[in-house]
Symmetry: C2
Subunit: 428 residues, 2 copies
């Protein structure tokens, strides 16, 4: 079966690479070399049919992921399919199925079947749910069962999996030594830390990393090395535990590339604005410029209900400094499971952050979009503006709600600056 990085290392661009190079307007040879060296990941499980592969990393536009999935309290596959449609329509580049309630494999297969974009999962969730069902406590998890679940994810066509390989005896110890306000806020990280502490054994995803690599290679399933020790609040950001884990992920990253397995690195989390650049530079340096997949970062803790915005602020800054992939955060973060509308708001806002970063990074297609929009705005051409807008429906809704017609903006009315001076300053 096809394996993107193996082909790239033989200097043979795949059809997926050719397609992505064309879509993004980049040189295919450069792209191929970045895939070979692990600076770009091509999300495309070799069993996933009829879908659009995505490239994530150096030289490419910033991508956006939407998390969907059930919880034990709310396990309704129809609702999840509604969220999936919302996410796709709003322009998500990928989705992750984080389900923990209901028939997990059935839900996953249904999502993959309808996704048409790459799908990611976090297999440790399924392992935890299965373990709890059978043996009551997560600390009884059987590592073999976890690897079986990972294998099934590969078989089902999952394009990328989060694996918290860096939660180790050593990184947990570093974390405990320093102390934290919010401890571990990654669910996968917390499961594994609990397992490690109680069983006094090393993390199986770290100890049996070769076994993990073999499964990932078979299906060309990209490993998204999870940040199980990411900070859960501003005060805990960029601490020793977090950085210890990042160093470990850097080591595992090199090993994956050498073994023909694609990899991304996951990043924080809650980070104050003044520490974002440091986090990006450090990840790029420690992990050989591997694609960086950040959750947020959320730049203040005090805005529940608005965390799609706190993370859009952090995400735009992170992507400007070099993050490649933004995991959305919805308005319901820290409060509850997102509704379909939350999914929509989360995707749009994260796309705004990604696009603003693309502009700042000099992406020509992104700059062109803004220039087009500005020309239509200057011409007071609303149809043109609808065409260029990131969410045309929102504008139409807005104007309809206020009874505005095509050529009127109620903001300044007759005192519109664009009407006052129409052509004097046109670009030559």
């Amino acid at each position: 079966m096809k394996n993107q990085i193996v082909e790239a290392q033989k200097n043979k661009p795949t059809e997926e690479m050719i397609r992505i190079a064309q879509e993004e307007g980049v040189d295919i040879n450069v792209l191929c070399s970045y895939v070979a060296s692990g600076k770009v990941a091509i999300l495309a499980n070799n069993r996933h049919k009829n879908f659009t592969p995505k490239g994530i990393g150096k030289g490419l536009s910033v991508k956006v992921n939407a998390n969907i999935g059930t919880s034990p309290e709310k396990a309704d596959i129809k609702l999840e399919m509604e969220k999936l449609e919302m996410a796709k329509k709003a322009g998500a580049d990928t989705v992750m199925d984080l389900s923990t309630g209901g028939d997990l494999r059935e839900i996953r297969k249904t999502i993959i079947e309808h996704a048409e974009i790459p799908v990611g999962t976090v297999p440790i969730y399924e392992a935890a749910v299965e373990t709890v069902k059978k043996r009551k406590t997560i600390t009884k998890m059987d590592p073999d069962e976890l690897f079986d679940i990972i294998e099934r994810n590969g078989e089902d066509g999952v394009d990328f999996i989060t694996v918290h390989c860096g939660v180790t005896i050593k990184s947990i110890e570093r974390l405990r030594e320093q102390g934290r306000i919010t401890g571990i806020v990654s669910r996968g990280g917390a499961f594994l830390a609990e397992w490690i502490i109680i069983n006094k054994k090393e993390n199986p995803l770290y100890e049996q990393y070769d076994r993990l690599l073999a499964i990932a290679k078979k299906y060309d399933m990209t490993l998204s090395l999870g940040d199980g020790l990411r900070p859960g609040c501003i005060a805990d950001a960029t601490d020793r535990g977090q950085i210890e884990e990042l160093i470990i992920l850097g080591e595992l990253c090199s090993k994956a590339i050498e073994n023909g397995v694609q990899v991304m690195i996951e990043g924080p989390g809650h980070v104050p604005i003044n520490q974002i650049e440091t986090n990006i530079v450090l990840q790029k340096r420690l992990c050989n410029e591997a694609p960086f997949y950040v959750l947020g970062p959320i730049v203040t803790d005090i805005a529940p209900g608005y965390d799609h915005i706190t993370s859009a602020i952090g995400g735009a800054i992170a992507a400007y400094y070099g993050a490649d992939f933004l995991c959305y955060v919805t308005p319901s973060e820290h409060l509850g499971l997102p509704s379909p509308q939350d999914v929509r708001d989360g995707v749009i806002v994260t796309k705004i952050a990604a696009h603003a970063a693309d502009i700042a990074r000099g992406n020509k297609r992104a700059l062109k979009m803004d220039e087009e929009m500005s020309k239509f705005r200057k011409a007071l051409d609303w149809e043109g503006q609808f065409k260029c807008a990131i969410d045309p429906e929102k504008i139409k809704e807005f104007r309809k709600g206020r009874g505005l017609h095509d050529d009127v903006c109620s903001m300044c009315g007759e005192y519109c600056s664009m009407k006052i001076i129409k052509d004097y300053f046109q670009k030559k």
Copy 2:
């Protein structure tokens, strides 16, 4: 009558300075020296009674302004009072009355009477409206009438006025030479440019700057030197016209400080993320660290309906680099006049940006707020979280809408990472 900067230059802290120093936890002597040198402006017209003065600038927390006001299409004073209440309740530090419809003086006086926070205006709007009423076209504006209006604003207790003194024959010429996509997007800037071009005369606010200073000094009305040539799209950002105007504003700023008049500088506008730091550093250098009051900046043009968010991204970054005062942008920017709900959303989101910047700048009170919130979050203490949240109502609404009770978060349910590992990583 009292004049803050004159007192500060005599090294005599006023009661307003003492109050602000206490509220913000800064040293009164340092604050007083910053007021004396024009690095901090105290917004407090000496005729404005029963209100909370605000300090803006170096060493102080980042402040947020909300624009309200009528347009010719919608001149309803009750609606504006509703917006004022919304803005205050959401935590706006100041409001600006940008009315252009209805009885402008009556509206202004009503707003000042109920504001309890500093009020700003843009007198050129009133001059334009009055001129158009009498003589049909703005180009017939009588400079004496403009100065009379400015005087009346001072008498009425207006704390700060936007005056586009930097729109001059020279800066307009520079702008025209370079060319622009969206030309002039500041209404005041467009009025004045039109007046200058048609009458072939210099901007009266520039030519008779001493007259302006004399009025401002009398009422201790802070001059907010407007950026009439601010860019209206990403492609126009940081161009020669904009920077020419900024240099002129820097010169006028020095002159104001020498003459015992407080001053702020207004800034862009639409600016890509990669140019924000440059804009701030340049303003601080050219204008002797005068307070910088930015509108946005908006970091992409393609997101109408979400410009409160595009500007929260830009505002957070700008304030991190040193902007002192953020003018809110609402979801209705570029589309129409904001509703009371838009005002609320705009203020909250801009406060989030300001707070995120305060954290990044090391403001101890801001950091403390986030730490408190994180402790309550870790303890799953919802009442505590309500107390610390920037918008407690939003959380309550959210949780009520989903039927959630005090100790439950539906996001992860029983797989809550905080429940899994409760105390192991507590901060020592």
